[in-house]
Symmetry: C2
Subunit: 197 residues, 2 copies
C-alpha cells in the first residue's frame, strides 16, 4: 500500500504555501527554489510528464497522506521499541486505557476500535496476556462473553508509551507554524467525515 519513489526526476511542479497570494505569475526556478520538495512532488512531476491530460491534484493531498502515515508508523515503531512494545500492542492497550476505569472492554469492542478481525484480536489478546499486560475475565451477565482488562503493568506501559508517542509527534508537528496546526486539523477533519458517515 504505498506510492513512494526515490527515483531521479526533475521536480518543479509545486505550489507551496509560501509567498503571497494565489495566481501570482511566478517563474519556477528549478535550481534554488525556496519551497522544499518532497517525494510526492517528484511522483506528480513524473506522472505529469507521462500523462499531462490528467488532473493530478488529488495526488498532492492523498499520496502525501498515505506516505505520511507510513512514516508515522515507522516513527511510532521506533518510539515504542525502546519500551519493547509493538505498535499493535499499543493500539489495543490504548483503547483499553482511554475507556477509563476499570479499563475493561470486550474483544468485540476492541475489534471495532482497532479495525482488525476477530481472529487477529484473539491472537493479540493471547500474546498480551502472555506478557501480563491484560487479563481475560468471564463476563458476569453473559457467559459467552469475555472482558479484557488492563493490568497495572499494562496501565503503566501504555501511559509511558503514550507520553513517548506524543513527544515524538510533537517534535514533527513543530515544523508547522503554531497557527497552522488547528487549520490543518480542521481540513483533515473535513476529509475524514467524508469516510465516517
Amino acid at each position: 500500500m504505498e506510492e513512494s519513489t526515490s527515483g531521479p526526476m526533475p521536480a518543479s511542479h509545486d505550489d507551496g504555501p509560501r509567498g503571497a497570494g494565489p495566481g501570482a505569475a511566478e517563474p519556477v526556478t528549478a535550481e534554488f527554489d525556496v519551497t522544499p520538495h518532497d517525494e510526492v512532488d517528484r511522483i506528480v512531476a513524473a506522472w505529469l510528464q507521462e500523462r499531462p491530460d490528467l488532473d493530478l491534484e488529488p495526488l498532492t493531498v492523498f499520496s502525501r497522506i498515505s506516505r505520511l502515515a507510513r512514516h508515522l508508523d515507522l516513527a511510532r515503531r521506533r518510539a515504542f521499541a525502546r519500551r519493547d512494545l509493538e505498535t499493535w500492542e499499543f493500539d489495543v492497550l490504548s483503547a483499553l486505557r482511554r475507556a477509563g476505569e476499570p479499563y475493561r472492554l470486550s474483544p468485540g469492542a476492541l475489534v471495532q476500535q482497532t479495525l482488525v478481525t476477530s481472529g487477529t484480536m484473539t491472537n493479540r489478546i493471547d500474546r498480551l496476556t502472555g506478557r501480563g499486560f491484560v487479563e481475560r475475565h468471564r463476563s458476569p451477565d453473559d457467559r459467552r462473553g469475555v472482558q479484557v482488562e488492563l493490568t497495572p503493568a499494562g496501565l503503566k506501559q501504555v501511559d509511558a508509551a503514550m507520553a513517548d508517542l506524543l513527544a515524538v509527534e510533537a517534535q514533527v508537528l513543530g515544523a508547522l507554524d503554531k497557527d497552522h496546526r488547528p487549520l490543518l486539523a480542521g481540513l483533515l477533519r473535513t476529509l475524514s467525515t467524508q469516510f465516517e458517515k
Copy 2:
C-alpha cells in the same frame, strides 16, 4: 460521548465553529454550519477525560492522518477491485508506468520505490508475470540483472486504474473548498519534508 466544546480544553482546535464558538467570530467560510465531529474528536475527548495533563494536539493531526490513510486504502482497494486489480499490483505497475518508455525498471529499483523487501518483490513480479502485465528480461550489460517491463496489457490496466483512482479521490477531495486544497497540500508537504530530509 460528545466532544467537550464547552470544556476547559484549549479551544479544541476547531477552526471556528462559526457562532457557537467561544466568541471567535471569524468569518472564514460559511461551510460549517454545525461543526462535524469525527472519530478522532471522540478519541481525543476520551484521552482528555483520562489524562487532562497531556497535550493532545499532535493527535488531532496525526491520528487523522493515520485513519485517513486506512480509509483511503480501503477506498483504493474497492476502486481497483472492479478491474480485478490489487493495490500492491497497482503500486508496482504505476512505478513502471511513470518511469516512462520503455517502462522498464530493475527489481531493485522497484523495491526502493515500493518499500517492500526483495523477497516480496520477487513474489510480486512472479504473479504479475503470471497475469501477463509484466515481463522479465535479462539485463543486457549486467548478467546478474533483470529488467521488468510493462506489457501492453499492463499499460492498459494501469492507465485505467489510475483514472479510476483519481476519480475516487477527486470525489473525496470535493468536500474541500477549492481554495483550501493547495493549502492542505502545502501543510502536508511541510510535514513530509520532516521525514524525508
